[in-house]
């Protein structure tokens, strides 16, 4: 088996080597005179240039442009045709009598998205931590076929959101296999995708199904970093398994669970694609999240015109939320590092 792998590797190296060397020689024709001109000392700037150019063009510049979009109105994309509108979009988004009730807001679609996202993230992240912890602990045991089970739980992570959405839509349809199974066992059909409450539950379930493997892997890495002599000592003392788990495993795993918590929240707030394919945000607006609001407002409003300004303003709000989550992450990892240094 190992030999086959090495052969495959060698084959790929040989196949790729020729065009690779050709390309590199070609670039050298440009790079050599550049090095002559700027000198060896300044070459790192040249190496950084393409990357920073892309970052600048597609991340840094857009950040500024986003602000500009959010304070100008009109339905044109080019700034020459857009007029300054100040905080109009923000006022419009935040025009609410009661933020807890989307119906009292002018832009109720946005606030439904906010409420749905909060609900979605709370349950998705909570259940995600629980299940990835449970799965990782079980996969860390000395079980038969451990490698196989690990890859089984990891596999859905690689699937595209469209594939995930379609597979589950096919299963959860009114006339899908799950309802057939329930009916065969004497139950009644459920509207998994067309009843507002069930659609949200299905969305949360599908999202956990698709991403759990990733977080399980992080927790598993943490479990494997726990020194085994701690467990040996606990076993010598006759500590029960439950106690070992709550007194050794869980406290030492806390840093990894924090990482899972923060990463899952940051990703959860930005959830869009698999839910969009699964339910389309429906029925009504019951599963439409913030990113779907931005997408629909900016790029896909059928009937009315595309409102880039409003979409940009909503993205700014989302950006602030993500910034807060990231700051929490930085703070937590900083305090963790300090603790490590003290030890």
């Amino acid at each position: 088996m190992k030999n086959i792998r090495i052969n495959i590797k060698n084959f790929f190296i040989r196949v790729f080597n020729i065009p690779f060397a050709f390309l590199m020689h070609a670039i050298d024709i440009i790079m050599w005179p550049i090095q002559k001109i700027v000198g060896v000392r300044n070459m790192p700037y040249i190496f950084l240039l393409p990357n920073l150019f892309f970052f600048g063009l597609f991340v840094i510049v857009p950040l500024g442009v986003n602000v500009a979009f959010s304070v100008t109105g009109g339905d044109e994309l080019l700034f020459a045709n857009r007029e300054f509108s100040g905080a109009k979009h923000y006022n419009y988004l935040f025009d609410c009598e009661n933020y807890l009730n989307a119906n009292t807001c002018t832009e109720d679609f946005f606030w439904r998205g906010v409420h749905n996202t909060i609900f979605f993230v709370i349950f998705q992240v909570g259940l995600m931590i629980f299940f990835s912890l449970l799965t990782a602990v079980i996969l860390n045991k000395k079980i038969i076929g451990r490698g196989f089970f690990r890859s089984v739980f990891f596999f859905p992570v690689l699937l595209s959101p469209v594939v995930v959405g379609l597979i589950w839509q096919w299963i959860l349809l009114k006339n899908g296999i799950l309802n057939a199974f329930i009916e065969a066992n004497g139950g009644d059909k459920f509207s998994f995708l067309t009843d507002p409450g069930w659609a949200m539950t299905s969305s949360i379930f599908v999202s956990i199904w698709a991403h759990m493997g990733f977080y399980t892997l992080i927790v598993l890495a943490g479990l494997q970093a726990i020194p085994p002599n701690l467990y040996e000592a606990a076993e010598m003392d006759g500590t029960s398994r439950e106690r070992t788990f709550f007194r050794i495993t869980l406290p030492l795993l806390m840093p990894n669970l924090l990482v899972v918590f923060i990463l899952a929240s940051i990703k959860g707030v930005q959830t869009f694609d698999e839910i969009y394919v699964l339910t389309g945000g429906g029925p009504g607006t019951s599963t439409s999240l913030i990113v779907q609001y931005i997408f629909t407002t900016g790029f896909a409003s059928s009937g009315s015109v595309q409102n880039f300004g409003l979409a940009a303003a909503a993205s700014m709000v989302l950006g602030v939320v993500l910034l807060l989550l990231t700051l929490i992450q930085l703070y937590l990892s900083r305090s963790r590092e300090n603790k490590h240094q003290e030890i």
Partner: protein
Amino acid sequence: MGNTASLIKNIVTQKKYKEKYHWTDYFSYFYLFLGVFLMFGPIIWLGLSSVKTLAGIQEYPPTILPLSQIQVEVDGYEKPLSLYNVTLEDGSTKELAEIKRVGITSKMVDPKDTEKKYKIPIDKREKIREFSVQWDNYLDPLRKYNFLLYFKNSIFVTVIATIITLIINSMAAYALSIYEFRGKNIALVFVIGTLLIPLTIILVPVFYVIANFGMINSLWGVILPGAATPTGVFLLRQYMLTLPRELIEAARMDHASEWAIYWRIVLPLSIPAIAVLAIFSIMWRWNDFLWPLIVLSKSEVYTLQIALNAFHGELTSQWNYVLAMTMVTLLPIALIFTYLQKFITTGIASTGMK
């Protein structure tokens, strides 16, 4: 006396403890098998459904295997008729073909003796099925609906984007790991900073930039925005930091150009890290959905993911095609996974990225 008794009891139970299965062991295996069923079941169900006929797809309750009802040509009828096993009133069974269904009764004919017609209540009959695999579900969309083109578009985006990603990110990582220069820390902070700004919060302005370059409805508009990735720079930089500096010094002594040092020495030595980034990039690009959905609105530039979504929206009743094309979209990633599973999992575990 009491002490010895408890001591003996302890010894006995301890000995037993090692041989005994704890309840968590039973639970673990139960959980794992449930997990296999939940994680693999949907994909197997997708695979089985994707080779069913349209009639088989629409059947409720569905059959697990791709079984289709046998159709027979009967003289005097234009369309082939469906075959049933019918229990007649006298208790005997017979194979009959259905001409027409009226309410809860059905008009049937004996295919061997076309003169004989029957009226049968529908609960007295059973479909005769055979195992049949409908490969047309795969071939029709490729022939009729341009899926070959979408497949090509997806491959183009994945390959070109991965090449660009590998080159420009490894160049930046090389600069940030091998050299000492003024502004290095600023550049590092800059790269870290971009990690904090996901595409979802700059959709409109990136669209604006792309529009200014005239790349809307062009595959380049999909490829370029994600080409520079902070994850990639970090992954490669961490690896390149471990390379021995003596090699580079020696090459410089031999008057190698900096570019030659980069591609002849540093890149080949960083192949493990580059392979991880390559796999990640392939995965990201193949599965990419939100950004292509915004940039690509003409069907001739659709990638597979966008086409699948649009196709599903247009033809909700054609689940057989949708499912087959879902399989096609899934297969390349599944193949990569089975070959390179170790690479992917260690890559994710070491970077915390996906």
